[in-house]
């Protein structure tokens, strides 16, 4: 009750729709061509280190990380570089992309071999060499995340997977639990972290059971069961729920001694240490009411969304009205079928006209449901009001910068207003005003 007085933060009871949770991952055949944009992470784009006509193999470096925040990009196929062109990314920016015609052999680059890791420096070098980024969707370079400026005492593994439909992380836990534990133990060992919490939402009991029995003998590792309430997996919410610490405004988890890694990310570390194979494939949950056979598919990076949908099949007579990369709450609607699959993608949803249709919007009735639901304790309705008045001071007072665009406010709004979109615009506006 007292906590509720401070902040209701109810979140949203989104539908689970996790029908693919029980479906083992299937490998998609290698497509004829892959396109690897040089920006598959937050930070500086990579520089292509191959040229047209070069032969590449699986694991060959094609994009070299530039600057302090970046992540290498490796070829996901064996074949020949067909072109290096500029492509338009979803956020409207233009980056170079390496297109590779595949030979279907999937010959592995002889340079791919397990890294020699002896200490923190060589461990971080290995993570950097893996080309790993946050696979939960954000795409922040993992090597940078593992080099925090403040001392860290707790590692939180984000296995909440709170987005509806998505089961890619669920499958990672069920299929690769050993590499997850290997990854966790490597991070704990080389970063001298003694505590690790694996946080899983209650709606995945088989994952909870499996992980609990797995970490039984692992010193310092525990499993925390979270309620099934969106968005448990949001980083700051997760830290509060698992270790009871509040990440300060404008700060990072490391400021409160925590590093959060997505479960598939940490598993990839485990895999890389054992095999030396960098991040070149990704598991996608392909679902939605226009998809004939919803699946968890292992896709080579750079395959087009079209290839993936052709592999899973679309229902006859149900045209795709909306295509979403990611989950339905935070995923991005794709404007075409020709986007390549990137490192941080974890789902692909194809919705029919019926699912895509949005109900008509009405006036705000000031019911305050957005305020009650906001996991960060913000006041979306008041932020929207301050944004209408273009009042940057008021927006700062309302802490608009804390909004993580999780979509909860729009989801619960009875007037069906695009609250989250307004929050995004208000956030951008306040940021621009601050730079003036």
């Amino acid at each position: 009750m007292l906590k509720k007085l401070k902040r209701a933060a109810l979140g949203a009871g989104v539908p689970h729709e996790k029908g693919t949770a029980g479906l083992a991952t299937v490998k998609m055949p290698v497509p004829a061509k892959v396109v690897l944009p040089m920006q598959q992470h937050i930070g500086a784009p990579c520089t292509p280190v191959v040229k047209k006509g070069d032969a590449v193999m699986v694991g060959t470096l094609v994009g070299k990380a530039e600057g302090s925040i970046s992540a290498n990009i490796y070829s996901s196929v064996s074949g020949t570089v067909a072109s290096i062109d500029n492509v338009r990314m979803l956020d409207g920016s233009t980056v170079q992309a390496v297109a590779i015609t595949t030979d279907g052999q999937q010959t592995v680059d002889p340079a791919v071999k397990p890294p020699v890791v002896t200490d923190k420096a060589s461990f971080l070098a290995a993570v950097q060499a893996c080309g790993l980024v946050g696979l939960g969707g954000a795409g922040f370079p993992t090597a940078v995340k593992l080099s925090p400026k403040s001392p860290v005492d707790t590692l939180v593994i984000n296995a909440a997977e709170c987005e509806p439909y998505l089961t890619a992380d669920t499958r990672e836990m069920l299929e690769n639990s050993e590499t997850i534990l290997a990854g966790i133990q490597a991070v704990m060992k080389y970063l001298s972290i003694n505590n690790c919490v694996v946080a899983i939402e209650r709606n995945k009991p088989e994952c909870v059971d499996l992980m609990t029995s797995l970490v039984k003998d692992a010193a310092g590792v525990t499993v925390k069961v979270l309620p099934s309430r969106y968005p448990q997996g949001a980083e700051k919410v997760l830290i509060e729920k698992t270790v009871g610490r509040e990440v300060p405004q404008g700060g990072l988890p490391a400021d409160v001694g925590v590093i959060v890694l997505n479960v598939t990310t940490v598993s990839t570390i485990g895999k890389f240490l054992a095999t030396g194979m960098p991040l070149v494939t990704k598991r996608l949950t392909v679902d939605g009411d226009a998809v004939k056979e919803p699946k968890n598919v292992e896709v080579v990076l750079g395959a087009s969304v079209r290839d993936v949908l052709e592999f899973c099949g679309l229902k006859d007579g149900v045209p795709v009205a909306k295509l979403i990369s990611g989950g339905p709450m935070m995923g991005v609607a794709l404007p075409s079928f020709d986007y390549p699959v990137l490192k941080q993608n974890n789902g692909l949803l194809a919705f029919s006209e019926k699912m895509a249709a949005k109900p008509e919007m009405g006036p705000c009735i000031r019911c305050g449901r957005c305020i009650e639901a906001c996991p960060m304790g913000l006041a979306p309705v008041q932020i929207a009001g301050a944004f209408t008045k273009k009042d940057a001071d008021e927006l700062n007072k309302l802490c608009v910068d804390l909004c993580m665009l999780c979509g909860t406010c729009s989801y619960v709004c009875p007037a069906k207003r695009p609250v989250t979109q307004t929050m995004q615009m208000a956030k951008n506006f306040a940021k621009k005003e601050a730079q003036k």
Binding site: K236, I324, K397
Partner: protein, 324 residues
């Protein structure tokens, strides 16, 4: 796979709630009061409710049609306002006065300020207050059924007053002697909706069970009145059951537009309502204070909202004088 794709901002799914469903839930919650008023005061009650509601919806439609605004009737908010206003009128009210009330509520209080979501005070409440001020005697012409007269006779009170006003020959309040069962079932004088406490409580349970309203405002409001009544030596249960307290607390103080957003704000709102209501009832010149308490607190809502914000997760504590 060559069809055009819809591109919108996330989230791509929304829940099934709607303004119409919320208003529909309020209408359902009001039905026990409507039925009780018909049972207590007869079919004329239904006529008053029907005419007031029809007038409210009609004014809403006409105004928006004249102003070339989209037709908002489908959101059912005018129906809610109409029923609540009607339940605030005595059964003997001339129908044209009820229609004037609907005009004040819908056109003056709601639409002139921008329509749903922009009104500064509860429309039905302003309608009621304007009618009480403008048509004071007709608004306080109570109808007494033979059964009510029997009860009043039993406690030696004149058959001319609501329980909050019943006095003996020396002018002392007889409220404490009014049988509680009669107060609960609505066997006493008053406006249509306020008499039957039982019907109001059924509506309250429905609103809370369907999560249409938070119980915070009605509970703090009623609890505050109970505490102050006890301290002032008044008959607590009778104070709670008589007059417009329960109806106002459940149906009028909980209007989304004119009540605070956060739990903290709702509790302060309820406290303020209770204090003002008791102040008026016990120490001012009027027998009833619910409507003025709600009106006054409606005006406080923007301030309460600003002062009772939640603390965002990780937000810095603002130092005094610090602007950003």
């Amino acid at each position: 796979m060559e069809n055009r794709l819809m591109v919108t901002a996330s989230p791509h799914i929304v829940d099934r709630s709607s303004t119409r469903k919320l208003m529909g839930n309020v209408i359902i919650a009001l039905l026990p009061c409507v039925i009780a008023s018909a049972l207590i005061f007869g079919a004329q009650a239904l006529l008053v409710i029907g005419v007031t509601t029809a007038a409210s919806v009609g004014f809403e439609f006409l105004y928006c049609w004249l102003m070339k605004k989209p037709n908002p009737v489908g959101d059912l908010s005018a129906v809610v306002t109409g029923i609540i206003l009607a339940l605030n009128l005595p059964v003997s009210i001339p129908l044209w006065i009820a229609i004037v009330g609907a005009f004040i509520a819908i056109v003056v209080t709601k639409q002139l300020f921008g329509g749903l979501g922009f009104n500064f005070a509860n429309p039905a409440l302003v309608g009621r207050i304007v009618l009480f001020t403008g048509f004071a005697s007709r608004m306080t012409t109570w109808t007494f059924t033979p059964k009510m007269e029997q009860t009043l006779g039993a406690i030696d009170a004149a058959a001319s007053a609501t329980p909050l006003q019943v006095v003996d020959a020396a002018g002392n309040s007889l409220l404490g002697q009014y049988p509680l069962m009669d107060l609960l079932l609505g066997n006493h004088g008053g406006v249509l909706g306020e008499t039957c406490a039982l019907a109001i409580l059924i509506g309250f349970v429905w609103l809370v069970a369907t999560k249409t309203i938070s119980p915070a405002i009605p509970v703090t409001y009623v609890a505050t009145v109970a505490v102050i009544s006890a301290l002032a030596g008044k008959p607590v249960l009778a104070e709670l059951l008589a007059g417009g307290l329960l109806f106002g607390a459940v149906f009028m103080a909980t209007d989304y537009v004119t009540s605070p957003f956060t739990l903290k704000g709702k509790i302060i709102f309820g406290l303020g309502l209770g204090i003002i209501t008791c102040g008026i009832r016990f120490w001012a010149n009027m027998a009833e204070g619910v409507s003025y308490a709600i009106l006054f607190m409606n005006l406080m809502v923007p301030y309460i909202n600003d002062l009772t914000r939640q603390k965002p997760l990780g937000a810095r504590k603002k130092k005094k004088g610090e602007n950003k």
